[in-house]
């Protein structure tokens, strides 16, 4: 009898202990997440608020976390005195064109490798080897070549180099997606009268769109953040946002903390926005790529 009474008590105690443990686990998980959030987003939060502060608040003690009177003056100065609008536009144009060019060139290349083993495995290996070359090793020859061809300080020059640099990665990603795509669907489309090109564009592309979104996103972010080629191959007309950010943040940020912070915020926002917009496809695309053995 006593045992019979004890059992529900023990069970209740166990349930209670389990609940406490689970609650504790949740608390610790959220605390960990919160700490990670503060660690990773804290500096960005500080940069954002600094970009909105007045000069007197930069070094105020105790620190001004959120300015009482936020101002866009530093953004205005960035766009007027420091030609921020020009650099921002350059980055946007170059990144977008490179992203599109990388997709346009990589898709047929990846398709031919996936369907017909074009290049017999050598091409795909060669592409990977190209990716292994450090950019710094290429910069001087590329600069000399560009100088001779008149491609320095031009959108075209930058788009070409970024496309070439990004193709290996894009092709390798797309080959994976295309190999996973059932060839029967494509053949069915062709039996129904589609040419191979039409089947690729109207049947394959819509289905592997998440994969292409991943490629597009990585191409855009990689181009937006690229610095080495941007500093060497550009001139005043084609400088990109990353060069502007660095011109504020190296060699002493000095008295321009506000503009420096504003440039950092503007430097990361577009990549953030593109990632946010493509997030849905990004998750699908990564999952799709993940099924590849």
């Amino acid at each position: 009898m006593a045992i019979a009474i004890e059992r529900p008590r023990i069970a209740a105690r166990r349930v209670k202990r389990y609940r406490v443990h689970r609650a504790l686990g949740h608390v610790l998980t959220y605390l960990g997440l919160f700490a990670a959030l503060v660690f990773f987003l804290g500096p960005f939060f500080w940069i954002v608020t600094t970009s909105l502060k007045g000069n007197e608040d930069f070094f105020a003690f105790p620190p001004v976390w959120i300015p009482a009177e936020p101002s866009l003056a530093h953004y205005v100065a960035l766009f007027t005195r420091s030609s921020g609008a020009r650099y921002f536009t350059n980055s946007l144009v170059i990144s977008s064109l490179s992203m599109v060019a990388a997709l346009v060139v990589s898709l047929p290349t990846a398709y031919s490798i996936a369907r017909w083993r074009f290049g017999g495995g050598f091409l795909s290996t060669l592409l990977l080897v190209l990716r292994m070359l450090p950019a710094i090793a290429l910069i001087i020859p590329i600069y000399i070549m560009y100088k001779m061809l008149g491609l320095t300080n031009s959108y075209l020059g930058l788009v070409i180099i970024y496309t070439v640099l990004y193709i290996p990665f894009a092709v390798w990603l797309l080959v994976g997606f295309l190999r996973d795509f059932p060839v029967e669907i494509e053949e069915a489309a062709m039996i129904d009268g589609c040419s191979r090109l039409r089947a690729l564009v109207q049947v394959v592309v819509p289905i592997i769109a998440p994969g292409m979104a991943v490629v597009a996103l990585f191409a855009f972010i990689a181009t937006w953040n690229e610095f080495l080629f941007a500093i060497v191959l550009t001139g005043i007309e084609t400088k990109t946002m990353m060069v502007l950010v660095t011109s504020f943040t190296t060699g002493g940020t000095d008295m321009f903390y506000g503009e420096a912070s504003a440039s950092v915020v503007l430097g990361v926002l577009p990549a953030f926005a593109v990632a946010f917009m493509l997030q849905r496809y990004l998750v699908k695309g990564l999952a799709l790529g993940g099924t590849k053995g």
Binding site: F59, I231, K239, G251, G252, D254
Partner: protein, 487 residues
């Protein structure tokens, strides 16, 4: 007939007005001899671009020339600009450069003297501080540039720390001599130790002993901080045969002292560039700092400084040798402006260079705290406006002038930038305690040998020979015995 007369009258009036408009005296703003010209300048930071913006309107009003300024970030500046120049062209007309890199840049600059004769230019060379005129303007004997920024180090101290009776009493009890703004490195290190970790301003805050910039970036902050000690202990960059002297007893002693006193500096000092310690100074968190002269303008700015009127200005400390204190503040490294040899607008650019170098125009640039440009003309230092710009501005400018006879230039030979980067990196390695001072400096010396070998020993020796003679004329020589006897 009447109609014809009316039309004729109108025609006469219109023609008359047109003639008047053509020959009438033009308003002053319209007298712009180079109207429509745009020149391109290249600089290494946004604040330098800002400094040019202070005179851009006047340049346009006077000459009709617009300046379009490209900023190449400081860390990539030398590599990128020399890459363009060495390819035999350049998109820039007006070029900012570090005078220590003159041997690499000089051949790409247009000599000024033929243009001075041709355009009757007046650069006011006699008004340039003699030491800058000696080390910043010429390439192979030809005048090729004008100073833009007279970078040197001076010492700043917070008078509150040094004048509080309680502090004086405690200091004397501990060190057996009077508390005063340091004149020697020994006194500096004692003061840093003494002030670190407590409220020397009477507060209960934990304040720091001194400030410094020890980041080993392209500008070589840690190297600049080290070499003032190194030279006052009798150091020199190379001997006459290009053997590096940066790992000699003077060098090791200087670095050992810096490593030993690291605990008295604020956390993060290894990442500090120019402005962080200046901010600590103006916020009253450090009692001592030697740094660029531009800090004085921040010290005097009541909008951010709590030590307006409470700051002292003086010479960077030195070493006591045979009863006399030898000071060796650094030229660090300054900025010059020159006209590109490849410019297609040389005449317009020469006029701009002349205009921005005029005493009144350059004064506007060096007086503005946001430019961090420093005075380089004697007239800047004597300017009544500058001397009254903030409380004790006159004392600040006098301290700058008092430093001029003792200044040490960089090793102004080809690959100066490479030599400095390697040394700066190793100095910070020692400061971070990843290597001993001796090991770090031995490695730096080996790196210097490699650079010399790569650039050609004979070529480097010839260039260094000239600089050695120039430094000797400034009173700077190698004294191997000083390291042991310096107090």
């Amino acid at each position: 007939m009447k109609r014809f007369a009316l039309l004729a009258s109108i025609a006469v009036v219109v023609v008359g007005l047109a003639v008047l408009a053509t020959f009438a005296p033009r308003p002053a703003g319209a007298a712009r001899p180079y109207e429509g010209e745009t020149i391109r300048a290249v600089v290494n930071a946004e604040y330098v671009k800002y400094s040019l913006s202070l005179v851009e309107k006047d340049v346009y009003d006077k000459l009709g020339i617009k300046i379009e300024t490209e900023v190449i970030p400081a860390d990539a500046f030398v590599a990128k600009t020399l890459l363009e120049f060495n390819s035999g062209s350049s998109p820039w007309d007006l070029v900012m450069f570090g005078p220590s890199n003159m041997p690499d840049y000089g051949r790409h600059f247009e000599p000024l003297e033929p243009w001075i004769a041709k355009l009757k230019l007046d650069f006011g060379v006699d008004d340039i501080v003699p030491v800058f005129a000696k080390v910043m303007l010429r390439y192979q004997g030809k005048l090729v540039s004008m100073p833009y920024d007279g970078d040197i180090h001076i010492m700043y101290w917070n008078k509150v720390a040094f004048e509080r009776a309680d502090n004086k009493k405690k200091f004397k009890a501990k060190y057996a001599y009077d508390l005063q703004p340091p004149k020697t490195w020994k006194q500096w290190d004692d003061a840093a130790e003494f002030f670190h970790g407590w409220g020397w301003d009477g507060s209960d805050r934990k304040l720091f002993g001194a400030g410094a910039s020890y980041k080993p970036s392209g500008s070589g902050y840690s190297y600049h901080w080290w070499r003032s000690r190194f030279f006052s202990y009798g150091g020199q960059y190379f001997d006459k045969d290009m053997k590096p002297l940066i790992n000699t007893a003077a060098a090791v002693r200087a670095l050992d002292e810096m490593v030993r006193t690291m605990p008295y500096y604020p956390p993060g000092v290894l990442l500090f560039e120019s402005e962080e310690p200046k901010t600590l100074l103006v916020k009253g968190d450090i009692p001592l700092l030697y740094t660029w002269t531009s800090a004085g303008k921040r010290v005097g700015n009541p909008a951010e400084s709590v030590i307006v009127g409470k700051a002292g200005f003086g010479l960077v400390p030195g070493a006591e040798i045979d009863g006399k204190v030898v000071h060796r503040p650094a030229i660090t490294p300054g900025r010059g402006m020159a006209v590109s040899k490849y410019s297609k607008k040389k005449e317009a650019t020469m006029k701009v260079l002349e205009f921005i170098s005029l005493p009144d125009q350059s004064l506007k640039i060096v007086m503005d705290a946001k430019t961090i440009m420093d005075p380089w003309r004697v007239s800047h230092l004597r300017s009544p406006i500058f001397r009254k710009a903030f409380p004790d501005a006159d004392k600040y400018l006098d301290a700058i002038e008092a430093s001029f006879p003792y200044l040490v230039p960089d090793p102004v030979i080809p690959a100066a930038d490479e030599y400095q980067r390697k040394l700066s990196f190793e100095i910070t390695e020692a400061l971070a305690k990843r290597k001993s001072a001796k090991d770090a400096l031995d490695i730096a010396a080996k790196e210097w040998d490699k650079i010399t070998e790569r650039r050609g020993l004979e070529k480097q020796r010839a260039a260094w020979g000239e600089k050695l003679a120039e430094m000797k004329s400034l009173g700077i020589e190698y004294h191997p015995d000083w390291a042991a006897k310096a107090k």
